[in-house]
Amino acid sequence: MTDLIRMEGIDKRFPGVHALKGVSFDLRPGEVHALMGENGAGKSTLMKCLSGVYVPDGGRILVEGKEAVLTSPKAAQDLGIGIIHQELALMRDLTVAQNIWIGREPRLSFGRIDEKRLNEETAALFRNMNAPMDPRMLVGRLTIARQQMVEIAKALSHRSRALIMDEPTAALNDAEIADLFAIIRQLKAEGVGIVYISHKMDEIKRIADRVTVMRDGAYVGTVAAAETPISKIISMMVGREIVDERPPAPDLSQAETALEVRGISRRPDLHDVSFSLKKGEILGFAGLMGAGRTEVARAIFGADPRDSGEILVHGRKVEIRSPKDAVAAGIGYLSEDRKQFGLALGMDVRANTAMTSLSRYADRFGRIDETALERIARDYIKTLSIRTPSDLQEARLLSGGNQQKVVIAKWLLRDCEALIFDEPTRGVDVGAKAEIYRLLEELAAAGKAIIVISSELPEVLRLSHRIAVMCEGRLTGFLPGGASQEEIMALAIRRESAQAAE
């Protein structure tokens, strides 16, 4: 059987970086081929070569046995190679239908667009996917998960024979992932080959036929998904064995309460949320997407207004109307979207570390004490082991894990007593994940009160001393750190109507 796609000895250099070192990869019709590796391993670069975004410097690409030159995304699309990018590549101000058919609009005479056909074909597309969607809806108005569905529909609309999915489930909830997998299986049955990039091991086991692992721009190996244990794949990815075991929860019965939240409501997202958090405790928040976990954090932090409820720090009631008040009260919030809210990407590590504490290091003329900032930044680089050539490196050039550490440094410098981590390891690779986990544990051991919000149950279970579970804006219960996934899910789907029926 001819391979659908065969990439041989692909080489790609960027100024200062040898991004791909003679990488080979192949894709058969009707298979799901997972491509794995840590961030920076070269997965995305390899797939950009296959989808015509980059032109490789060396090697060749064969599509159904014929050598292909892919100089543009269009050239790749014409050969039936479609890609769903990790960073959603959608136009927010256009409708669903307009997004899907961009560049291929059905036309009438004089360059006019056949809007009716555009919408009809889009509706048909979503009907086939069993996903209801209004073609006329503005994409910017959709949730991230719904936007992802638009991306998938767009790729499907190309009648692609090879489909590259770069972390397609990053923002989908379990039900949506199940829908996506149903679509993937349907495509497999139709003979479409799928390249599946993901960090989630359980997904690889569920959906992939083969797994190819890359490390540092080089090919490591290809294994059959069903027969290979996850630990083997991970060690292929990082080049060493990772030991990351959950340490026993500390005894906090004598610890003082650091943060108490009483009856926070914000219609329609939050209903009467109350909990308390001790010094040295890690409280995990679990729940399905849209359960209101991030909303709780934002309400505590003053980023969104509250209808009611009060917040106590060390037993004292504090008025929090804006993030400024929260920071003054010693509460820090590390957003799930680092790039948008957490970091000034174009500025260096030093400036980012000092961002929330600048006034402390400036004299009365507003001149900044750079010497002090340099010392502080270097201290944090050492204590948090941030991998950066210097404190003057721009934040955008760091890997996800190291960016996250810079954000943590920023809040530590600000002397926050309570830190809220929203998806602390999103976009962070396996090796760095374990490091972030250890860092959070050290912070807790040093007496900080920590809230961790995560969509990944294994992460919540790994980190939390206690787990708060939410459903539809309500706290449905607390579980001890060692709870099972089933116990959490039971609380996560306990809707109010169901509760009433009990």
Binding site: V53, S72, P73, K74, A76, Q77, I83, H85, L88, A89, L90, M91, R92, D93, L94, Q98, I102, G103, E105, R107, F110, G111, R112, I113, E115, D134, M137, L138, R141, L142, K154
Partner: protein
């Protein structure tokens, strides 16, 4: 479905706001002065809007792509000059002059577009350079002296005649205004219904996404700048016809009035959003304000101050509205 509802009311709100301000101004001025609501005064307001309105339409096209065109004013003048060269110095017939203005505009727009798309020069810089180049060229070509159109009978009719008035004597709508409405209508149609218009919004919304969709981004961007340039050519014809001459020193400063009209009309400078109707209303607000304040004998210096304040208030109102819908 609640998403859709807030969206529609939000967009309607925005247009309503600009429109309501326009009506409020009209009512205010007519109460303040009996001369304001005269048909002749209304026509002169519309006539005064025609040039700025057409330029603002051109600016809107580029701004929706997320770019900016600072050269619309001096390009208008340059088009008037080339038309003068062909008609007065070359003695060619009128239609050829019209064609010259449009072709000059499109060609210059295409060049600006190439600077932006091919050479990756930021639109602000590329069109700033183009603005100065054109200003200089107009002066060089004419030797700094106006070119008059006395030898071309009917040239002033382009702007000052009234086709509508001939059909409906009670409505002496100047041709300049008719042309503004035609240009605005065509631009609206292009934005709403054609591929070119679709890419305007798409580019302003997420250029990288358009590129990744396999669209030839550079080519379309150049096409949009060229179209905007051709629209500036129309403005060049209008102003030359109104002055019966090509005035080479004129033009700089017009781009700011045009951009002001676009912004008051609710088009986002960030790109991806905007309407021609909004721009028209914005241009009308500026002319009504200028005209009304003049009738009330407010000093021209204060007129400028007030126009500036209006821009800030308009954009602030838009921000407030957006904050609410979020």
């Amino acid at each position: 479905m609640s998403e859709t509802k807030t969206l529609i009311s939000g967009a309607a709100q925005q247009k309503l706001l600009a429109f309501a301000s326009l009506i409020a101004l009209l009512i205010g001025f007519s109460l303040a002065s009996p001369n304001f609501m005269q048909t002749s005064n209304m026509m002169s307001i519309l006539q005064a809007t025609s040039v700025n309105g057409v330029l603002a339409v051109a600016a809107t096209l580029v701004i929706i792509t997320g770019g900016i065109d600072l050269s619309v004013g001096t390009l208008m003048t340059f088009c008037a000059v080339t038309t003068g060269v062909v008609l007065t110095w070359g003695g060619m017939p009128l239609p050829l002059g019209v064609l010259t203005a449009l072709a000059t505009g499109a060609l210059v727009g295409l060049t600006s577009g190439a600077f932006v798309a091919k050479m990756k020069i930021p639109p602000f810089i590329a069109t700033l350079g183009m603005m100065l180049i054109l200003k200089g060229l107009s002066l060089i070509v004419t030797g700094g002296r106006p070119i008059y159109f006395n030898d071309t009978p009917g040239f002033t009719e382009i702007s000052q005649g009234s086709l509508v008035g001939k059909l409906i004597p009670s409505l002496p709508l100047p041709n300049g205004v008719l042309i503004l409405f035609l240009v605005a209508g065509a631009a609206s149609y292009i934005l709403a219904r054609t591929v070119l218009g679709r890419y305007c919004f798409a580019l302003g919304s997420n250029e990288e996404a358009v590129r990744l969709s396999g669209v030839n981004v550079d080519r379309w961007k150049m096409a949009i700048y060229a179209l905007a340039g051709a629209v500036c050519g129309v403005a060049g014809l209008l102003i030359a016809s109104r002055l019966n001459s090509a005035q080479p020193a004129l033009g700089q400063g017009y781009e700011l009035d045009a951009i002001a009209a676009v912004v008051i009309g609710g088009t986002s400078l960030a790109g991806g959003r905007g309407t021609i109707l909004g721009t028209l209303i914005g241009a009308l607000i500026i002319s009504v304000l200028t005209n009304g304040l003049r009738i009330l004998s407010v000093a021209p210096e204060w007129q400028t101050v007030i126009t500036g304040a209006i821009i800030i208030v308009a954009v602030y109102a838009d921000q407030l509205r957006r904050g609410k819908t979020k």
